[in-house]
Amino acid sequence: MLTIRFVPAAESGKAPEALALGVAPGGQQLASARIADADGLVTRALAGRHRFKGDEDDVLPVLTASGWLVLVGMGPPEERDAKRLRRIGGNLFAELADSGIVRLDLSLDVSSEDAAELAYGMCLRAWRPPARYRSKPDPDEAWSLVEVVVATPDPALAEARFSQLAAVAVASAWARDLVVAPGNELNPDGFCRQLDRLADLGVRVEQVDPRQAGLTLLQAVGQGSSIPPRLVMLRWQGGEREDGPLVFVGKGITFDSGGIDIKPWEDMEEMKGDMAGAAAVAGTIHALAARHAPVNAVGVLVIAENMPSGRATRPGDVVKSYAGLSVEIVDTDAEGRLALADALAFAAATCRPALMVDLATLTGAVEVSLGRHRAGLFTADDALAETLFLAGEAEDEPLWRLPLTDAYDEALKSSIADLRNCSWGHDPDALHAARFLQHFVPDGLPWAHLDIAGTSEAEEDGPLAAEGPTGFGIRLLVHLVEDRCQG
């Protein structure tokens, strides 16, 4: 990760390799920029650059006789909240990553807390796939920028805040590593090995064998693979012993071929990312543990590989679930809801949850519905919906509530079992899936389902993540935990 240091404003006086200065809309220079402009340098750099408006996504690097001068659009002061500062940081990193600049000094005239947020944004953006999948480095991806020195009024304060945020950035980078890992490396065994590192942070990692625990739906999803499925519990005990934990459930299909209902070949390699929900949950627990969060939280990961084979589940198979409801599996490619159904019922029965939130790359329908900007939020609990929605807005992981309704129950009726797992060819599938899951959550338990199929990976570069995995959900869930700890 990027090295970030906070220093007192005075220290960063002598000509650095690259100096970043803030400019607000209308070309208005912030204090440090004005000082640097004593000889008119900044004004000359801005002259004629009409595209540089001082907005949050404007970065203008210019080479001067005394080194690099980087003008950074800071947006209007009244809008300079944590979210904007992270975006400014992220855009700044993206712009300079391969500029040749090795060390960047920031003199952006923001408070110590804001400096931490800005640096956090840079760290979030500074992720790329691990190099180990290549035999030699890709010259197009040579990043020069490794060190950022931030001038700030109170370095200790900034450092304290940043260390909290950096814990999330580290967790997010780890989760992205997991998502981008190919299916032959990150199969159910490989995923479980990765989770062992959480033990070093004080997380109790426990593997559950679906056959022994009666997680028959999870077993049905994973039985076609030569590597057996697993349910993994990640327990973080940071709160009072008797407090019921917050339970986060993640879908972890390490590769989803569709099974016997195999998917079309086009883009099928993307299905190595069908465990992004589980990665986000693991990342969340990682962040909470690293921060010693005063809360009890349990991550429940359902990990399986969905493969066609001689022992794979067949369309039409009926399985009696952990919860007792029988399910006719009419589509082996609607497997996420099956694995999650058992996980939700199992977690509710064994964890005494105060609250359950599941994350899953569940349906293609939610991409059609909400695109890649917002994830689908389903819950019967209005207060929880509001809390999650606001957390998403604050963290730049926006959600949108969609109906959790019995209006389409007809679609989930089976002619032979209690339920079927989807309604072939009938819309709206994201709503069907959410409603299906609801059958496996006890009444009265606050529960929300996040369908992150559209947001777990970005198709184009954004301020906090380049094209590729985003770690969507981690910041949101950590925010939710913070809210509850404060509330």
Binding site: A365, E367, V368, S369, L370, G371, R372, H373, R374, P398, W400, L402, P403, T405, A407, Y408, D427, P428, D429, A430, L431, G454
Partner: protein, 498 residues
């Protein structure tokens, strides 16, 4: 079918409908009848699974001594759950059960219900309304239907003591039903009968009800610079039309109107970006939004609503031909903004772009609501029970949601955020007309938003709810007219002088 209201008595013919509350509690009329028939109703309930739950029915042959032929018991559920929608469902249920049972006269006894918030006359009016709405049939093209296949019921009598109060209430609802039926007729008509000019002609009939109707042809639209709308229609032999309907019912005739704008693609083949053949016949109802606007204008006029309302519908036929619009064409809209037409099958937004601009430009409405069967994506998003609601104003959105809930035409709010706007950036023009598969309904709404200035505006994507594949409580399968009752309700609650 004729609906009338009469004082409680013993009907002399046909079928008599009586109600039973949950727990097998008969209404007063049912109890009287039970006594008169030595406990027939009590025995019948005991012999069946009929418990008086909502939507349960039990059909009995009337015993000797009664003049009617049949008795229909209708379950109403719990008294506190009997609301306006339940009353309408009750009337609808009666029609579903008896419409083709052979009786010419159906008498529905509506008793006051203890523990129900609605008085008997209020209930009765909505029972009648539900029966009326459910009785709709579009059968003009059946030339050989046998008598026994046709509905037998010619007359529905609602029987209650407060019959004149009920009748007064119903006369308002009946106007709305007329609007609903007009909308259903228009959407059901095949595209060789309903094309832009003939649809405009139908709209013209609203003049009989006091609506001012104005029709603009291609020449006038060209003069106005409506290049987006005209581009869609240029492949068709039929001339595109823009119909402007004005109902000035407010005391102050200068009061800013509420405006309704409808997409009226009378047939949507997709144009050069032609659709697959399967189910293409459904595209005759791609003018569903326009049909709703025409229907609601009719309803407002018939019930003499004290409001100024404007309805604007853009009518085009989207056909492939030697003169059709090509993918890649750039058109200039009335607003001056240019559009690259990537997909000629994303045509509804092109029509609306000009219709919306024209409406706000000319009428400066206090609020503008458009309805359109706009995207397949909304069906994947919300299915056939909710229409998508997009709005630039929180208050208008809340009022629309509430109105929808009251009449059982449900809306679900969808996002309208700037990040979606980048999906419709064009390499060559101000925007392109499709943003791809992801968030397809949202990018369509973002496109429309570019043609709305500072007017309070809402867009209803009704592609999933305009045509029902199966019968609903007050809507037979087929054209639903979703939106007419909702907008009528919105006007009554928000824009009408009390």
């Amino acid at each position: 079918m004729k609906i009338s209201f009469a004082k409680a008595s013993q009907p002399a013919e046909g079928a008599l409908v009586i109600s039973v509350l949950e727990g097998r509690k008969p209404s007063p009329t049912a109890r009287q009848l039970d006594e008169k028939t030595d406990g027939l109703i009590t025995r019948a309930m005991a012999a069946s699974r009929f418990e008086g739950k909502k939507d349960q029915t039990l059909l009995l042959v009337a015993p000797n001594g009664l003049e009617v032929q049949r008795l229909l018991l209708v379950g109403l559920g719990k008294p506190e759950d009997v609301d306006v929608q339940a009353a309408e469902g009750w009337g609808g249920m009666v029609m579903a059960q008896l419409q083709a049972a052979g009786d010419e006269v159906v008498t529905i006894a509506v008793d006051a219900i203890e523990g129900c918030s609605l008085a008997a006359d209020h209930l009765a009016a909505h029972v009648a309304f539900g029966a009326r709405l459910r009785s709709y049939r579009f059968d003009k093209y059946r030339t050989k239907e046998k008598t026994e296949e046709k509905p037998s019921v010619g007359k529905v009598v609602i029987m209650l003591d407060e019959h004149s109060a009920a009748k007064r209430r119903f006369s308002v609802l009946d106007g709305i039903a007329e609007g609903v039926f007009m909308t259903r007729d228009l959407a059901s008509e095949p595209a060789n009968v309903i094309y832009p000019e003939s649809l405009a002609e139908r709209a013209k009939s609203l003049a009989d009800s006091g609506v001012d109707v104005e029709i603009l042809g291609e020449k006038q639209m060209r003069k106005l610079g409506m290049g987006a709308l005209l581009g869609v229609g240029q492949g068709s032999e039929r001339e595109s039309q823009l119909v402007v309907m004005r109902w000035m019912g407010a005391e102050d005739e200068n009061a800013a109107p509420v405006a309704f704008v409808g997409k009226g693609v009378t047939f949507d083949s997709g144009g050069i970006s032609i659709k697959p053949a399967a189910n293409m016949e459904d595209m005759k109802w791609d003018m569903g939004g326009a049909a709703v606007v025409i229907g609601v204008m009719k309803a407002l006029a018939l019930r003499n609503a004290k409001v100024n309302a404007v309805g604007v519908v853009g009518l085009v036929e989207n056909m492939p031909s030697g003169s059709a619009q090509r993918p890649g064409d750039v058109v200039t809209s009335m607003s001056g903004q240019t559009i690259e037409v990537i997909n000629t099958d994303a045509e509804g937004r092109l029509v609306l772009a000009d219709a919306l601009w024209y409406t706000q430009d000319r009428f400066k409405p206090q609020a503008m609501i458009d309805l359109a069967t706009l995207t397949g994506a909304i069906i994947i998003s919300l299915g056939d029970r909710y229409a998508g609601l997009f709005a630039n104003d929180e208050d208008l959105a809340a009022r629309l949601m509430a109105a929808g809930k009251e009449v059982g035409e449900l809306l679900w709010r969808m996002p309208l955020d700037d990040p979606y706007d980048k999906q419709i950036k064009s390499d060559i023009a101000d925007m392109k007309n499709t943003g791809g598969r992801e968030g397809g309904s949202i990018t369509a709404a973002m496109f429309l938003k570019r043609f709305v200035k500072d007017t309070k505006w809402a867009h209803l994507d009704i592609a999933g709810v305009t045509w029902a594949k199966k019968d609903g409580s007050v809507t037979p399968k087929g054209a639903t007219a979703f939106g007419v009752r909702l907008l009528d309700r919105l006007v009554a609650e928000t824009y009408e002088q009390k």
